[in-house]
């Protein structure tokens, strides 16, 4: 049994040293070179005497160098957190405040932004200053154990404070071995990556490639705005496997690209992150009928996915697609509000997960961890944690799990997981706004801001303010101004009334 995800890299380097590991718009890198460069970074980290099992932030544009840095951090026996250099710095700062990284890996082009925002020069490692041609110091991975962390990914927190989900080697190995076997991934595969590295769907892309010797293509982000160019890229590079968010697949279907660009090279089409409508999936199945289609489901807290469904039958356009059955070595079950097991068809309850896939909690946040990582209420004999997802589901007549919605105010917008509370929190920082409520129109994919203004303000100005505080994907797409927001009898904002007023008009 592997002790570290680095075993994947080491084995693959032995088997396919000169095969291309990662391709990005700037070039490519072989498995051997990836390992070599990662070890150079590891030595540079160790020279800083930061210790082991400590958080390291990666502040780099998405590229092959991000992956080299991740591996370098792991070789130094620390764990990583990827961030987006395009995030407003306030968002980066909220991550820094929670993570307290011992080191930040960046490049020459982005170092200035860190310095400008009062990050100490002492904790910055600029990879442009490293000599990757130098002799490598061989890093020993024997001291890593599988309960050591690989990464901490930050998810939206309803109070505006992000939560760092801490994931171990063991959880990733458990997941990636399952992916490799289930989808029969090998060195012959070419994986087209869409997911940002701060989003855990990228775990499948990165680690399945490292594990099998498949080549990972980091598709340039701008292509996702232009479906025709995206599919030309897929065709030109003969990419055969993708794991994308449904929004991207929907956009391609809506633009009717597949009837004009032949993408039959695609034979494994996986998706997760939000609901995939059958109307759009049927479009894909019509044009690429031979491909395997699979709907995956899972929150970051259980390491990417805990259920999957391989599309095996016809669906009407308006039928919902199952999220399927548990992944190998995961137990997925439904609990009622009274914490009893639901096994009956059609009865709705909360999806709960048990297994090696569970995160070890939210970094440095015992309180939030305890809320959702709880003792299995069905087990009174020994300590066994489960993760309560907050997702409402039921069994259909085939014993497949069907997704219904959320227990709380978390949404999935273009595949991103967002707490409406985090947006409301940011909106309340706008000085002209007195009160605010954010609702989500899942049909039209609109984040609607209902607000009370104390002084005159234009929607544009609100947007402009928000871009400095929250990432682009959280910015409301529709704005409605109220003299006073409707309240419920006990004085809270009447969300239900706002929803009925705003959604569907």
């Amino acid at each position: 049994m592997y002790n570290s995800v680095l075993c994947y890299l080491e084995k693959t380097v032995e088997k396919y040293p000169d095969k291309t590991a990662v391709v990005d718009k700037g070039g490519n890198i072989t498995f051997k070179k990836l390992k070599h460069c990662a070890q150079i970074i590891a030595s540079a980290i160790s020279e800083k005497n930061v210790g082991v099992r400590k958080p390291v932030l990666v502040y780099l544009p998405k590229s092959r160098w991000s992956i080299v840095s991740f591996m370098g951090i792991l070789y130094s026996r620390n764990f990583y957190t990827p961030t987006d250099v395009g995030f407003p710095f306030e968002k980066v700062k909220s991550i820094l405040d929670c993570l307290h990284p011992v080191l930040i890996i960046t490049d020459g082009a982005n170092k200035g932004k860190l310095i400008k925002n009062d990050v100490s020069q002492d904790i910055i490692l600029n990879i442009d200053e490293l000599d990757f041609d130098s002799l490598q110091v061989v890093s020993n991975i024997d001291h890593i154990i599988d309960t050591d962390l690989v990464y901490t990914l930050f998810t939206s927190g309803s109070t505006g404070i992000p939560k760092g989900v801490a994931i171990t080697n063991r959880s990733i190995i458990d997941y990636v071995d399952w992916v490799k076997d289930t989808y029969q991934v090998s060195d012959k595969d070419k994986i087209g990556n869409q997911a940002p590295f701060y989003f855990d769907n990228s775990t499948l892309d990165i680690y399945t490639a490292l594990c099998t010797g498949a080549t990972l293509y980091i598709i340039p982000e701008t292509l996702f705005a232009f479906p025709a160019e995206l599919m030309q890229y897929v065709r030109d590079h003969l990419i055969n496997m993708v794991f994308w968010v449904p929004s991207v697949l929907i956009n391609i279907a809506n633009s009717d690209i597949l009837s004009r660009i032949d993408c039959c090279c695609l034979n494994k089409i996986l998706f997760a992150g939000e609901v995939m409508p059958n109307r759009h999936l049927n479009y894909w199945r019509r044009f690429i009928p031979e491909a395997l289609y699979s709907n995956l489901y899972g929150p970051t807290e259980i390491t990417v996915d805990c259920t999957y469904y391989i599309v095996d039958r016809q669906f009407e356009d308006d039928e919902p697609l199952p999220i399927g059955i548990p992944c190998r070595n995961s137990d997925v079950f439904i609990l009622s509000e009274e914490n009893t097991l639901i096994e009956k068809e059609g009865q709705i309850g909360e999806l709960c997960v048990r297994g090696s896939s569970l995160a070890v909690g939210y970094l440095g946040n015992e309180e939030k961890t305890k809320e959702v990582f709880v003792q299995n209420p069905l087990n009174s004999l020994y300590k066994e944690l489960i993760y309560k997802t907050g997702d409402l589901v039921y069994y259909n007549d085939r014993n497949e799990i069907m997704f219904v919605g959320r227990k709380d105010f978390q949404i999935k917008h273009m595949g991103y997981r967002i707490e409406l509370g985090e947006i409301e929190n940011a909106v309340m920082k706008v000085p002209e706004i007195g009160n605010a409520c954010v609702i989500y129109d899942s049909q039209n994919k609109d984040i609607i801001l209902c607000y009370e203004a104390v002084e005159d303000i234009m929607d544009k100005d609100i947007r402009r303010f928000l871009t400095k505080v929250i990432p682009k994907y959280m910015i409301p797409t529709k704005y409605r101004r109220y003299d006073s927001l409707p309240l419920t009898d006990n004085g809270k904002i009447n969300r239900k009334l706002l929803e009925s007023e705003c959604i569907g008009d």
Partner: protein
């Protein structure tokens, strides 16, 4: 032309599109924005921009956007 600048300013108020020589390269318009922009242009000019025309070079400048509206039968 001003109408299009207004649409762009509504989508990304934090940028001055007159300052940019390439909206896509400069990161003024991302994938969300392109979807919004195409749907706004379709409504405003009563057209239906063909999916194959939704490529970077048709959205990189104000002139390019005007051309693509005209090509799809819109009147500016």
């Amino acid at each position: 032309m001003n109408e299009i600048y207004e649409i762009l300013a509504d989508i990304r108020p934090e940028f001055d599109f007159k300052e940019s020589s390439d909206f896509v390269e400069d990161g003024y318009l991302d994938s969300f924005d392109i979807v919004t922009l195409v749907s706004e242009l379709d409504t405003k000019y009563n057209i239906s921009i063909d999916g194959l025309d939704i490529v970077a070079k048709n959205f990189c400048s104000i002139e390019a956007i005007m051309n693509i509206i005209r090509k799809n039968g819109g009147e500016i």
